[in-house]
Symmetry: C2
Subunit: 245 residues, 2 copies
């Protein structure tokens, strides 16, 4: 039996997130069915994480086990031929039997995209959050520094998934601006439920002056979800990369 | 009576081009109806050009006359409040009574976006043409030089609109590459029907070696549509800017 690792890009606009569920179409299910069509097997696709409704990915990772004799690198084209255009397999490769896309993940990078101007945008509107009020990038950058390192991120977690600990290590968090587009890039060893979107929502409140950059330290220490900002909308979020050994 | 000039961005994916027509929804009609809702007038919106089904614009220009006393710069927000999210008014301003978006246009810039790699892309797939075969950028750049200047572009025109002359002046035509994305940028005093898409289609055949860069000269001189390449698909095309005095 072969263990196949897939690197996947998807536009999450029309899906109810990654996870298979009743009465709502998840990306996992669409790809599992596509694999089923080419292997005649019922496979279980293990995803590196559960992305929410509307969240995108350009480097999602998943794996599945198969008895098919399709060469590992050919799975890519074969599966793509059965997928809708908003899901694309970028790479397929054979990995060790014990590889597990979720358990073996050492970390992930997400990018959150904000359109910061008065007027909306038509082109690419599903890939960015339109935020009209002008943002102070310098304050947002200063706030980022307080997040970096190992902290208990209890204040930056929504209820909805059970985890043993809310301690995580953020190795990278920065904001950059290109014209009207602001990108928030974050890398950590793992993320709690809605953690990136709550960090971004909090940075937006820093950018408008509601929260002072130094206050991030207090918010972290409070371990109180109500002290942090709202979750920023899903559409701006994109999973860029998942790291493995 | 005021003459209002609008600068418009739209995602052309779900429309049958700019032009109003029977039994198919054009962008012009959608905006005219939105203006009607806020002015209670039946206005005629004059567009700078007719874009085809699926073509996008980030700087389309149109004008209309109105007796409404809404301040000129407020039309933007007022109209946007009545538009779907794939059409956005970026700017509204009062112009001279005689301003005509089509007749007064001195030139336009279009950008055509090509994804040049084996795998498709999910994110942004409606804004780029996926071309799998590797393109020789150097040859394409050399071919561009032959287009620049004043020529009879009869070979680069599809039937479908009546024009007095097929002589046009291209002031800028270049190709640039960023990762897997190739952009063709072209500026001219005017464009014939499908002219940009046929130029791009021809450049693609240069990029794959089917047409030699030097052959562009012969194709222009032949005044024979069949000598040029196919029209590249609409989805890669975006009208960036329209120039006026």
């Amino acid at each position: 039996m072969k263990n196949i690792k897939l690197t996947i890009e998807y536009d999450g606009t029309n899906y109810f997130g990654w996870q298979k569920q009743n009465n709502a179409l998840g990306i996992q299910e669409v790809i599992e069915k596509a694999i089923g069509k080419i292997t005649n097997e019922e496979v279980e696709l293990i995803g590196s994480s559960r992305t929410d409704t509307g969240v995108h990915a350009s480097g999602f990772v998943a794996n599945f086990k198969t008895n098919s004799n399709i060469p590992s690198d050919r799975f890519k084209d074969a599966i793509n031929s059965k997928l809708p255009s908003d899901i694309v397999i970028l790479r397929s490769e054979e990995v060790k039997e014990e590889f597990h896309a979720r358990y073996n993940s050492l970390g992930k990078t997400y990018v959150y995209t904000i359109l910061n101007r008065r007027e909306a945008k038509a082109i690419g509107r599903n890939y960015m959050y339109h935020f009209k009020q002008q943002l102070n990038l310098e304050d947002m950058s200063r706030a980022c520094e307080y997040f970096i390192g190992t902290h208990d991120f209890e204040s930056f977690k929504n209820k909805g998934s059970s985890v043993k600990t809310s301690v995580r290590t953020i190795t990278e968090l920065n904001v950059s601006k290109n014209g009207d587009i602001i990108e928030v890039k974050v890398t950590a060893d793992g993320f709690l439920y809605n953690m990136v979107r709550i960090i971004v929502g909090t940075l937006l409140e820093v950018g408008t002056g509601k929260i002072k950059p130094e206050a991030i330290m207090d918010i972290l220490q409070s371990k109180d979800r109500t002290k942090a900002g709202k979750s920023a909308p899903a559409l701006g979020l994109c999973l860029k990369q998942v790291y493995y050994n």
